[in-house]
């Protein structure tokens, strides 16, 4: 039974390592009123109009980022896999860029490159720049997710089957490729969502009223509310994961079937 012990041991250690701090955070968030456990900190957070505003702002930004990413990345990844497999190492390289180039540098460079254009001189322009930065930031996750999704179906034969049945490129993308990478796209979209909701540096540098800067301000000005906020965003994440699992169930089963 020794052979079963060590994996479980490590698994438990890992779980503890994640969960103990989480519990400590939760416990701490309940102690806003001295001597009793209460949800006072949560009420404070939820009652703050800034919370709602910044959350809503980041939520919209995240959705926009996801939609734009999907529209750009799915056709690109599809085409690269279908016809330009030699470009894959190049794209893999781009995929690593956001890890390598610090966000500070990215934003300074973007701002310098596009200064004196409508992108930096208007509120909407800055928002576009923000979304543009997030598309870059989320590129590795979205691209890898879509790429893996595409590999799990035989896009080559599916494309030719659709062609022989009379379908053009638009139809193939809309009716065959997109529906079949939907689940993969969702998992990439979820990470993107999480990243955008928590991102601080770029939003702060572009002076956008986003959720990340709000969280940071709160963390430096309050004691118990940041913990409550962490638990709230954690709960929202759980909800999002559950929703994705639920939506993805059928699609996943279909795509993962015997081949």
């Amino acid at each position: 039974m020794l052979k079963r012990f060590w994996p479980w041991f490590w698994f438990t250690v890992g779980a503890m390592y994640f969960l103990v701090p989480l519990y400590a955070t939760f416990d701490f968030s309940l102690r806003a009123r001295r001597g009793e456990l209460s949800f006072a900190a949560y009420a404070n957070v939820l009652n703050d109009i800034k919370f709602v505003e910044s959350f809503w702002f980041s939520f919209q930004t995240a959705l926009a980022t996801i939609v734009i990413s999907a529209l750009v990345i799915v056709p690109t990844a599809y085409w690269v896999q279908l016809r330009l497999p030699r470009l894959r190492p190049v794209i893999e390289f781009f995929t690593l860029l956001p890890f390598v180039v610090p966000a500070v540098v990215l934003v300074f460079s973007l701002a310098r490159t596009y200064s004196r254009t409508p992108l930096t001189d208007s509120r909407e322009g800055l928002w576009v720049l923000l979304i543009g930065s997030y598309v870059i930031l989320s590129f590795p996750y979205m691209y890898r997710a879509v790429d893996t999704g595409l590999r799990s179906i035989n896009i080559h034969d599916l494309t030719e089957a659709a062609q022989s049945l009379g379908a053009g490129w638009f139809t193939i993308l809309a009716r065959v490729i997109f529906p079949n990478v939907y689940t993969a796209l969702l998992s990439g979209a979820f990470i993107t969502f999480a990243i955008v909701m928590g991102e601080f540096t770029i939003a702060a540098l572009l002076a956008q009223p986003a959720f990340g800067p709000y969280m940071n301000r709160l963390a430096s000005s309050r004691v118990y509310e940041p913990s409550a906020l962490a638990i709230i965003s954690f709960a929202l994440t759980w909800a999002a994961i559950a929703a994705i699992q639920w939506i993805g169930q059928g699609a996943q089963a279909r795509v993962a079937g015997p081949r």
Binding site: A161, L165, V176, A256
Partner: protein, 370 residues
């Protein structure tokens, strides 16, 4: 003019030539197989007919229309893939109806046609299932129905049975043949399995290294192979080292035992080393044939019971010889180690020269049969 014509088709990828000098005329309703080892160009040729590859040179004409430059989605061709290639996100019915939906046919018509095709493939109750809920054989039947739904001018099948188990392969083979006859659709079938090609086809195109080796009915290709390649690729063959004794009367010697062949050996001279080719099923135990026969004696080396057939391996001295007997529960098969004499008719003997060029006695027979 034939329904499908390939004229001087050639395809090269960079410096390497995949298909060369390909000429073929297929009649309406005919079932033609492309047979050959992997890399012989059979799939490339099929893909050129489908439009997925563009010929480097030559023309492809379907029903009188030159389609060489037509994109694949305008050719109205049904295609079945080895991987089934069903759309995983659609039900069986949606898969079958996909082509009709693209052609913007009315919903009623689509539904009726899908039901008809589900009936043809005996899967009426499976319309709402998804591909992953089906076995491999069922998926391939759906793929066939999907290809047929658009009433294509041509049906192309690219090794459709290769991914399936032996038993399902045999039964689906039968089903494909029956559906093809029932609908009378012109069909091209690519395979590396000679038995499959023979069981299905009206004519077989045997290919090797991008070139056509022979075009003929299964009977012709098997019994009168035009080249040494065809002889050895289609079916199994005994090749015995022999020496020409008298070319004029067709007499050769195998390890000192005289063998008479049906035709004079005009290509050879007495004393030449040749190969004597014999199909295993044309060799019988001594005493079973009554006409003029050749005999060879040797030792039984191995007996393999294959069910309906018992395959016996006989060792002469330098040569080995396989032959087949039908299983008979009342008869004991030959025992390893025993001496045995086998017989075969002079007509069963093909003489091949030592070079790889087409063996002339065979092509002479083929010409007669064609």
């Amino acid at each position: 003019m034939a329904f499908l014509e390939l004229v001087n088709v050639r395809k090269s990828f960079g410096a390497s030539v995949a298909v060369e000098n390909f000429n073929l005329a297929v009649e309406r309703g005919e079932f033609v197989s492309f047979l050959g080892p992997s890399g012989c160009g059979k799939t490339t040729t099929l893909r050129m007919v489908a439009g997925f590859e563009k010929p480097t040179a030559g023309r492809i004409v379907i029903d009188g229309v030159d389609v060489t430059d037509t994109p694949p989605n305008r050719r109205n061709i049904g295609m079945v893939f080895q991987s089934y290639a069903l759309f995983p996100n659609m039900t069986v019915a949606d898969n079958i109806g996909f082509g009709l939906k693209i052609a913007r046919r009315p919903a009623d018509e689509i539904r009726a046609r899908v039901e008809e095709l589900l009936r043809i493939i005996h899967m009426s109750e499976f319309g709402r299932r998804y591909p992953y809920q089906l076995s491999g054989g069922q998926q391939q039947r759906v793929a066939l129905a999907r290809a047929l739904a658009i009433q294509p001018k041509l049906l192309l099948l690219d090794e459709p049975l290769s991914a399936l188990d032996a038993k399902i392969r045999a039964s689906l083979r039968q089903e494909i043949r029956e559906i093809q006859r029932q609908l009378g659709i012109t069909t091209i079938y690519v395979t590396h399995d000679q038995e499959e090609a023979m069981a299905l086809s009206d004519r077989i195109v045997v290919m090797s290294r991008g070139r056509i080796e022979q075009i003929g009915t299964p009977f012709e290709v098997y019994n009168f192979p035009a080249t040494r390649f065809v002889a050895s690729f289609v079916g199994t063959l005994n090749l015995l080292q022999a020496t020409v004794v008298d070319a004029a009367i067709g007499l050769v010697s195998v390890e000192g035992q005289s063998i008479r062949v049906a035709r004079p050996l005009t290509q050879h001279r007495s004393g030449d080393a040749v190969s004597l080719a014999l199909r295993p099923e044309l060799i019988a135990l001594d005493g079973q044939i009554n006409s003029e026969v050749n005999r060879l004696s040797g030792t039984v080396e191995d007996v393999t019971f294959l069910g309906s057939i018992v395959r016996v391996r006989v060792r002469l001295s330098a040569n080995k010889l396989h032959f087949d007997l039908f299983n008979n529960p009342q008869l004991r098969p030959p025992q390893p180690g025993s001496l045995i004499t086998v017989q075969f008719a002079p007509e069963a003997c093909l003489v091949l020269g030592e070079d790889a060029s087409p063996a002339h006695p065979m092509s002479a027979s083929a010409a007669q049969a064609a």
